[in-house]
């Protein structure tokens, strides 16, 4: 491990009240070098070019762009719209200078209304939804390669299989990536989403062998599950994730890139960003970094 390995990165989902410039300034002030913005912050900053300038002026690099995906629609018009949105996200990632576009693949058409979308409320065929993800991914790969951007598949915790991602395990993500070049499709290991998986350590090793790990995201799994289940993510150390075994496996698999902290949590999201960043740094130093070394 060199001194430049495993830089800590703020994912802006952790500080949702900040605009891009404020988030960048807070990140730089905390001594961090990387930030992973969500797309809506680019819009707020006046577009990807302006956002790239803000990030550079803060002395930061973009670790990832969150997020593309939502590829499960069965309707041709909705499929076309999803492809268009993802192509725009690919261009934005390239403009920011990151090669990693995080992909949340989408849930069942039957549950589309949960996120405010359309969809056939009777379509509960999860296997068919997974096939459509594979089809849309194949359609996006050439465009992603042209722009030097990887589609970074994020397996989500199975509690989100219905409404957010029919991609539920790292093994499934690697199977989905397998037909495509490693510079076009990769995976992110997010501790919250994968810690429970009995196969997680062997699949992290496989992801390393297959050259597919594009990002490592850390946060904890809290109990009880929050009323908005998405907000059950916690600061490292506050929940039940064993960061030692997962981090050691990620390091052993050869990953040396940024480690992003992405926490959706009502209390943390509302508190002062400087406090969040200080706590993040301390917990990262205490609980994660020793196992990456």
């Amino acid at each position: 491990m060199s001194a430049a390995d495993y830089p800590l990165a703020l994912n802006t989902g952790t500080t949702p009240t900040l605009d891009l410039r404020t988030a960048c300034e807070a990140t730089a002030a905390a001594g961090l070098t990387h930030i992973g913005p969500w797309r809506h912050l680019l819009d707020g900053a006046g577009g990807a070019d302006a956002a790239a300038k803000i990030i550079a002026e803060s002395g930061l690099k973009a670790s990832t762009l969150c997020r593309g995906g939502f590829l499960t629609a069965a309707e041709p018009s909705a499929q076309a719209a999803a492809l268009e949105s993802n192509r725009a996200a690919i261009v934005e990632a390239a403009t920011l200078g990151t090669d990693s576009l995080i992909m949340v693949v989408g849930g069942l058409p039957a549950a589309a209304h949960v996120l405010g979308g359309d969809g056939d409320r009777t379509d509960k065929d999860i296997a068919a939804a997974r096939h459509r993800v594979a089809d849309r991914l194949a359609e996006l790969v050439p465009f992603a390669q042209e722009h030097g951007v990887k589609l970074v598949l994020e397996p989500l915790h199975p509690m989100y299989a219905v409404d957010r991602a029919v991609l539920s395990t790292l093994g499934q993500a690697l199977d989905l990536a397998a037909p495509h070049p490693t510079d076009a499709v990769a995976v992110v290991v997010d501790t919250f989403h994968v810690f429970w998986d009995p196969a997680v350590l062997e699949q992290i090793a496989r992801a390393g062998r297959e050259g597919r790990i594009a990002s490592y995201q850390v946060c904890d799994f809290n109990l009880p599950i929050a009323q908005d289940a998405l907000k059950s993510r916690g600061m490292m150390g506050d929940g039940y994730v064993d960061f030692a075994s997962l981090s050691a496996a990620v390091a052993q698999a050869g990953y040396t890139g940024p480690v992003e902290v992405e926490i959706f949590n009502e209390e943390i999201n509302a508190q002062d960003a400087a406090l969040t960043l200080e706590t993040m740094k301390q917990r990262y130093t205490d609980l994660v970094l020793p196992h990456l070394a």
Copy 2:
């Protein structure tokens, strides 16, 4: 399929306000032939012998007994207590005349306090907890065999991996069962817990080939996740489970036994049991049974 195949069964978790006699009477009145009681109803009835008499007098058979398990403790005294409790449950199952003791294997010691128990709040090593489950299971197998009772492993949805069951997939349950005879260790397929699993259809087929399916439990997966996450289970048809593919796979795997409905859901649990039973029967006839035939 013969006329006696796939009898519908009430799991008493669906009607938690009823004592055993009332639950049996309601079940028989609805024309059902099987009931799956929880252990605390046996205590309320004056013990397993008295409970067996109540079930028989109602003209019913016990489909399963819920539940044994909670085998993850690291402390020797807690391990001894767990073995003692499970031996008592095995005897109770045999007394009721069912060969199926459903096993919820328990969560992390770090989360034991969530269910009111003791445990080392720093012990988040899920792999070690899984090893202890395997060890305790091996210790229980001879006693279970002597009593003609199967330890029926229930993989729980990964959202309960921390507090209720480190056993999260059907494949993992079958691996855990593999060293033991099929008359001692089996699995239950519960639609709520397994529908999201990308490997579920192949693992149901494997469970059939390996002679391990002891029970099929059906209920739906509702959104949003309930404030008490345990109560996110729904009446078939109200949520997002595709009962067609799962039921067809269970039938193809050779299972012909009772189909239990176990629903923890605030609204359903509070409503009149006769209404619940009528709805259950209708939904079973419409959504499940056609795919078992």
